[in-house]
């Protein structure tokens, strides 16, 4: 006898314990099978882009921290690079500043991957692995905190420089932490990579083909997991990425397991980049010597009238950025991060548009889980690493 069945409409989210980030999936289910998945975002919309138009160019920095809060410094850097391009001072940034920015970007990438992988494993039930990576992330954030004074809300980079130089003993601190992090990495690897339960949930789930990934606008680890050799750090080098030696892991099929492997390997490569740069850290100033762009030092402000005037003008009216538009692509830990800025000349951005990497990834969610099981949504969603702050802005 044929039983009359109807698809079940199931609401997953907006605050579901197994989906980190506020997002809602409207699922049409046939038993355990997903017939259709509709993704609803926007629960964390804060009006970031509009907010940017209200303040000066410098006042945008603290807000960029809140986009991808796991790797805040990468957003700072992406924004600073775009403003510097508008100002036409890209080549004048001191070498030390660029080196520090590169190091901090890679530290953030490590922290981001630790969080993403750890939290994903937590949602798959592997609490121990999560704790190991959280401890590794904690150590990484300790380094970041000692540099810029906060873990998440770093507000570290400024147009034409940095808010502060590296602290004393930075290299020693990094060299002390990395061996510990490597132990955690290998323990995490031992617990999971050849674990049958883990493999069953990750391998061949949530896959996407190369063409579709490109068509959806994928970037970052999820694109490379499909086998596409594209990384902004190699394809379009910025900062010091053309001067360091590092590999970029690429996957085969674009399923969750490939994404996991790509991220795991990227942690190692980030450590490699940092270790190379720390050994040949250039000396010298961290800020550009151009009072119209970067506030002069406090001594100068107190001692010289011109510096004082620049300081007041920069703070009250903002840095005077010539009219034009600029976009600088950078490789965030989740994909390509970039700020498209329009200036009409003057102290405030006319328009600021962020290219959030996880927005493109999230829109493919429906396709990736079509025909899969309900439980496949969890690893798929984890591996695309939606960050509400960045996706919804």
């Amino acid at each position: 006898m044929d039983l009359h069945t109807e698809p079940l409409v199931l609401n997953m989210g907006p605050s579901h314990p197994a989906t980190h980030g506020t997002v809602r999936f409207l699922l049409k289910m046939d038993g355990e099978k997903v017939l259709h998945c509709e993704t609803e975002i926007g629960y964390l919309h804060r009006g970031f882009e509009k907010q940017c138009e209200a303040g000066t160019w410098t006042q945008v920095f603290p807000y960029t921290d809140r986009l991808n809060y796991n790797s805040a410094i990468q957003n700072n850097v992406a924004y600073a690079l775009a403003v510097e391009k508008l100002l036409g001072i890209t080549g004048q940034i001191p070498e030390r500043s660029t080196a520090i920015r590169t190091i901090m970007c890679e530290l953030s990438r490590m922290a981001d991957h630790y969080t993403n992988l750890g939290a994903s494993m937590l949602e798959l039930g592997a609490l121990t692995a999560f704790l190991y990576f959280v401890e590794a992330r904690e150590l990484t954030w300790d380094i970041i905190e000692s540099v810029c004074g906060a873990r998440l809300t770093s507000n570290y980079v400024r147009v034409g420089g940095l808010s502060t130089d590296l602290p004393e003993g930075f290299a020693a601190h990094v060299k002390e932490v990395f061996p510990v992090n490597r132990v955690f990495w290998s323990e995490f690897d031992k617990l999971l990579t050849k674990n049958r339960i883990f493999l069953d949930r990750m391998r061949d789930t949530g896959g996407i083909s190369e063409e579709n990934a490109i068509a959806y606008g994928f970037t970052g680890p999820c694109l490379r997991a499909c086998g596409v050799e594209y990384d902004v750090r190699k394809a379009n080098p910025y900062l010091l990425y053309d001067q360091v030696d590092f590999d970029i892991p690429v996957g085969f099929t674009g399923d969750n397991f490939d994404r996991y492997l790509v991220r795991m390997e990227e942690i190692n490569q980030s450590m490699r980049i940092i270790e190379q740069l720390i050994d040949k850290m250039p000396g010298g100033p961290v800020n550009i010597d151009n009072p119209a762009v970067r506030n002069p030092s406090k001594e100068a402000v107190k001692g010289r009238m011109e510096s004082m005037i620049f300081h007041f003008k920069n703070t009250i009216e903002g840095i005077q950025v010539p009219a034009g538009e600029a976009y600088v692509p950078t490789e965030g830990s989740n994909g390509e991060v970039g700020f498209y800025l329009v200036s009409s000349g003057g102290g405030k951005p006319l328009k600021c548009r962020v290219r959030p990497p996880c927005f493109a990834l999230t829109q493919a969610m429906g396709e990736m889980v079509q025909g899969a099981f309900l439980s496949d949504i969890i690893p798929t969603f984890d591996m695309i690493n939606l960050i509400g702050g960045e996706c919804d802005r």
């Binding site: 300790d142 906060a150 050849k194 030696d245 892991p249 490939d258």
Partner: protein, 191 residues
């Protein structure tokens, strides 16, 4: 530069040993045990001897113990009270305009000797995002980020609005931060 795109090792060859899984569970348990027992032993030893530094776990017993705060830490913004007991602030209003969420409001006034001072200085701690831009803007080193992060929350937001008296901290207590910003942040050699 050297270094290129490298394929990940996806096709893991699982030995029979690994596919049976039971032994793998034992291996996993051994790995977690290698954390669990040293942690337990360290915690017990530190409890008995009262020395927290020998404990192996990263978590601490807050608030009995507090984590070490790095020099760069940005806590609650406070005003500096100079050695003469007066505020250093000259009510120039730079911090007011530099603050991204606009949480500072100042009313300036003139002293009898002609120097300016803030008659009222209000900082809304419920709105402040601890960004440190006010510290960067102040030409007088009159507002600095302290290392103060405890007991800042209240059940009522109006209690988080700090007036001048609540913000003023003697210079000696802030000497570490003042020294840090002079040495590392706005030092001439950084430019």
């Amino acid at each position: 530069m050297a270094g290129n795109y490298k394929k990940v090792n996806r096709t893991l060859k699982m030995t029979l040993w690994e596919r049976v899984y039971v032994f793998e569970i034992i291996r996993g348990v051994l790995l977690t045990a290698s954390h669990f027992f040293p942690n337990l032993w360290g915690a017990a030893r530190s409890y008995l001897s009262g020395d927290p530094s020998i404990r192996k776990i990263k978590t601490i017993y807050y608030p009995e113990e507090v984590p070490p705060i790095p020099e760069a830490y940005r806590g609650r913004p406070v005003l500096v009270r100079g050695a003469d007991g007066k505020e250093k602030c000259v009510a120039c209003g730079l911090c007011e305009v530099a603050c991204p969420p606009k949480c500072i409001s100042i009313v300036g006034a003139m002293r009898e000797d002609g120097t300016r001072y803030p008659e009222t200085y209000t900082l809304n701690g419920a709105v402040c995002i601890f960004c440190g831009l006010c510290e960067e803007a102040c030409p007088e080193e009159a507002i600095v980020m302290s290392y103060d992060y405890q007991n800042l929350c209240e059940y009522d937001r109006s209690l988080m609005v700090y007036d001048k008296e609540a913000l003023l901290i003697p210079e000696e207590k802030l000497s570490k931060r003042l020294e840090y910003i002079r040495r590392r942040m706005y030092n001439k050699c950084n430019y």
